[in-house]
């Protein structure tokens, strides 16, 4: 038994302090991303979520240029970008895609400028992989309260707006006829999304931020037709993928090339994709039998 456990979990996994921090931080943001992501997917805002994460990491890694802590760079830029998207028309199904694209294009333009300035004046070329991939687990345990606080804010916004947001996601017309301020609700949701995405960027990186926002929620939507269940299921899938990915990354130190771990993001992304495909197969099996 002991031997089997050791074959799956290489020694030291549960005892390592860095792993504990990563598991705690990653766990918190995985749950938040899963819950918030259900609305992202049903509102067809996956692109907006991804764009916010790209823009946020560009902003975060250039925040030091003006002497700001990365966290506030990430959050500030994401929120600004969300406001710009709302303004241009991310609420309308038709223009949403272009509005997101234009804001993302401007974000990239600014990122390229800041990076150039950074490389020229601060010799900060090390920031580039951060822009592309985000910083995977560079936060320390002392950041946990802040991460949990911001996550709680995002969840609180969505929980407060739960019913009008759900109704507006089903049909903006029906919601408006009931007196729901559809645009206000959508804007508030976009704000919660921006905070979530910034949080994810900072703790688990830009790739995982999109993966955990979209993948688990989309998988959950394939499996259940009930709103509460979909949210809980998404959070569960997200958490499972994150922890399993961490475990595999730890194990990969013992894989070739030896003593050189594989990136966590690779494992988590692969697991998310597998979960999505498996959910699709499961749902198809159910309808065939049912």
């Amino acid at each position: 038994m002991q031997a089997l456990l050791h074959a799956i979990v290489e020694p030291g996994f549960f005892a390592d302090g860095a792993v504990q921090t990563a598991a705690a931080l990653g766990g918190v943001v995985a749950v938040v991303a899963g819950l918030i992501g259900v609305f992202t997917v049903i509102r067809s805002q996956a692109f907006a979520g991804h764009a916010l994460s790209d823009i946020g990491s560009a902003g975060g890694s250039s925040a030091y240029l003006i002497g700001l802590a990365p966290l506030w760079g990430f959050v500030g830029i994401s929120v600004l970008a969300a406001a710009a998207m709302e303004r241009i028309g991310v609420q309308r199904a038709r223009g949403r895609d272009v509005a997101t694209g234009v804001v993302l294009g401007v974000g990239f333009a600014l990122a390229s400028l800041f990076l150039y300035l950074g490389m020229t004046y601060h010799n900060a070329s090390g920031e580039i992989p951060t822009i592309l991939f985000g910083s995977v687990f560079t936060l320390s345990a002392s950041d946990l309260p802040l991460v949990m606080g911001l996550g709680a804010v995002a969840l609180l916004v969505v929980l407060t707006l739960y019913r009008p947001l759900l109704l507006a996601s089903v049909s903006p017309e029906l919601a408006a006829a009931r007196g729901v301020r559809v645009r206000l609700v959508g804007g508030a949701y976009l704000l919660a999304l921006a905070i979530t995405v910034a949080l994810c960027d900072l703790t688990i990186g830009a790739i995982l931020s999109t993966a955990l926002l979209v993948g688990p929620a989309a998988a959950a939507l394939r499996l259940t037709g009930r709103p509460h269940r979909a949210a809980l299921l998404a959070a569960g899938i997200s958490l499972a993928c994150t922890w399993l990915g961490l475990l595999l990354a730890w194990d990969s130190f013992y894989w070739p090339p030896l003593r050189h771990g594989w990136p966590v993001s690779f494992f988590i992304v692969t697991l998310v994709l597998i979960a999505y495909l498996a959910a699709g197969a499961l749902a198809r099996g159910q309808t065939k039998r049912g």
Binding site: V38, V41, I42, L159, T160, L161, Y162, R163, P164, L166, L167, S169, V170, S171, E173, L174, A175, A176, A177, R178, G179, V180, A220, L221, R222, T224, G225, R226, P227, R229, A230
Partner: protein, 289 residues
């Protein structure tokens, strides 16, 4: 008659003695004019709806039916005129079933959940589940004949099934006014009759003013207490037999039309009179069979 100023058109049909079922006024429109861009979509429209009555809002494509309903709902500000719901200027006790509803097939929302959102979908926070609430939703689903597909995702139901769920969604909050935009367009003849009868029964039993828009009035004729007939942005209203008459409609359209009654059905066709203008034939096509 044709030398009367047009602005009196909406009130031209004398109100008869009220039918004994009619109650208090639920909705009153006066002088509602809507201009979008350079176009005048609605021109000085005024009428009243009373509790317990079923009213047909009749007009061909583009006549302004949806626009009028959006004005009543407060989704569109009229350029001029007033809308008074329930005596108050703003009243939220209005149920609405839109004309176009494209529900996403993947939405994790069952028919049951959508009807529950009809109770308090605009409130903040998550609803506290209770047995009473569940039973209320189940009763409502049963009342519109949607119990069989209560647990299916709304986006995957057929157009007619979605229609029933949306009617339940609109009715469950006990509105005093229920507006339905082209509810019969997606339905076969049999379902259309069933829905119309259901709505007429709801109007009578729950004392709700129901307004149904349609481009074709025959399906509504057996149950319609009152009709608001839209053409060229203007409206004629009153009881069906008073409005659907050659003289009234000719004045509304601005050229001669004939009203032919045969086998319990009504046909509105372009007339052959000396002032018959072929400029608006499309307004009349919708009424032909």
């Amino acid at each position: 008659m044709s030398d009367e100023p047009q602005s009196t058109l909406t009130h031209a049909v004398p109100e008869r003695a009220e039918p004994q079922v009619a109650g208090e006024t639920v909705l009153e429109l006066a002088g509602v004019t809507v201009e979008l861009g350079a176009r005048r979509i609605l021109d000085d429209v005024g009428f009243r709806l009373k509790a317990g009555e079923l009213t047909g809002l009749i007009g061909s494509n583009g006549a302004g039916k949806t626009t009028l309903l959006r004005v009543i709902l407060g989704l569109l500000e009229p350029t001029r005129g007033t809308v008074t719901v329930n005596g108050a200027d703003v009243g939220r006790s209005v149920g609405y079933v839109p004309q176009k509803f494209m529900l996403d097939p993947d939405l994790p929302v069952r028919a049951r959940d959508l009807v529950a959102l009809g109770i308090d979908g605009q409130r903040l926070g998550v609803a506290r589940p209770s047995r009473e609430r569940r039973e209320r939703v189940a009763r409502m689903l049963g009342a519109v004949g949607a119990a069989d597909f209560a647990d299916a995702r709304v986006g995957r139901l057929s157009g007619g099934e979605q229609q029933r769920v949306l009617i339940a969604h609109a009715l469950i909050s006990h509105p005093s006014l229920l507006l339905l935009d082209e509810p019969l367009a997606n339905l076969d003849l049999h379902s259309a009759r069933a829905v119309v009868e259901l709505l007429a029964r709801i109007a009578r039993e729950q004392r709700i003013a129901v307004m149904i828009s349609a481009h074709e009035m025959n399906a509504l004729l057996p149950v319609m207490d009152r009709v608001v007939y839209l053409a060229d942005g203007r409206a004629a209203c009153g009881r069906a037999e008073d409005v659907v008459r050659a003289d009234v409609l000719s004045r509304l359209y601005g050229h001669r039309v004939e009203v032919i009654r045969a086998a319990g059905r009504v046909l509105v066709v372009a007339g052959e009179g000396d002032d018959a203008e072929p400029t608006h034939p499309h307004h009349l096509d919708a009424e032909e069979h």
